[in-house]
Point group: C2
Chain length 196, copies 2
Amino acid sequence: MPAPQRTSLDQIVREASAILDERGLDGLTMHAVADAVGVRAPSLYKRVRDRNHLIALVTEAVVDALGEDLDRAVSVPGLAPRTALRALADAFRAFAHARPAGCALIFMRLPPAARPEAEVLRRGSAAVFRVAAALAGERDALEAARMITAWAHGFVDMELSGAFRLGGDADRAYRYGIDRLADALTGGLRESLTGS
Amino acid sequence: MPAPQRTSLDQIVREASAILDERGLDGLTMHAVADAVGVRAPSLYKRVRDRNHLIALVTEAVVDALGEDLDRAVSVPGLAPRTALRALADAFRAFAHARPAGCALIFMRLPPAARPEAEVLRRGSAAVFRVAAALAGERDALEAARMITAWAHGFVDMELSGAFRLGGDADRAYRYGIDRLADALTGGLRESLTGS
DNA sequence: ACCTGAACACCGTTCAAGT
DNA sequence: ACCTGAACACCGTTCAAGT
């Protein structure tokens, strides 16, 4: 006599994401997820290989959500590249502040089993590539996209990890970084013109 | 009859650092540390408040070691600011590759009890401030230092977390970033001269 | 076919008891 | 004064037993 399904992979990932946001990665226990979806912990292993697999699925959901936010931020007709970079950076920081634990997961060094699929990462970073290409040109788009991502991620990581306890205004430092980044990524062209 | 001390806080932090490097943060258990110093786990609580306190002490040791590497890298007489930034960035990346788990700890978002003292962070980042001031001027030194740190940390984090699976050469991207960063941080002056 | 209780090996932490 | 075994409340994971 087959027993009826009491949950689904979708529901598990959805509840796990909510638990991550509310209680952090340490709070994301198999017991907590099982409780939220209404089964016992061992039953989760019918849908996910183990906790690392669940973390990978949650991370992919976070990347998708972030990618949508970034896409929306730069999908304004007639947006100048420098303005687009500002919008992109602000959307990223807002996402990181709203969902710090989820955002941390994207760049966290976890076992390969807990890492998202490369294709999901590619899709989530499409907006960054578009802005990078607009600023630095198609030839340097990949390097420029990585520089934008590295800086924005690093900044927010420092901000949320408490590395800014030394004083100063985080908002001002972020704005400073965005403007300097825009200068830097368009700088190759200016330098070739002025010969400096 | 007082029992003789079988270990010390120094030895505990030293062995904990070694375990962190070899087995990662998850492998840094109270049992493993106790084993390494030759006592039982409960005895550790005579020297450290709890595991988070031990993590904070290990993090401070890592920050000190990194700070020494960075100081050495930029302590070359007559070093031009742009060359100093290259040396600084290369030293940071080399440290991160040599001790990935330790480096991750510096920027990891952990409970306040597991975070190092602000004074230790200040001392460890002295070299970055000096290079930042040389590049961007005293007025923007704080923001510039944060931009350098954010980018370098973010880059290495992405590199070691597997975010570079999309192809491309990490060495080339890092060099690209350093040069663009040097452009960016000296760009304020150039812009004020050209009026762009 | 799916779910569950029980069990196992592991955590961090506390504490009374030893010396 | 320091150290220890035992205990507690938690983990992730497995598996035989239920329906």
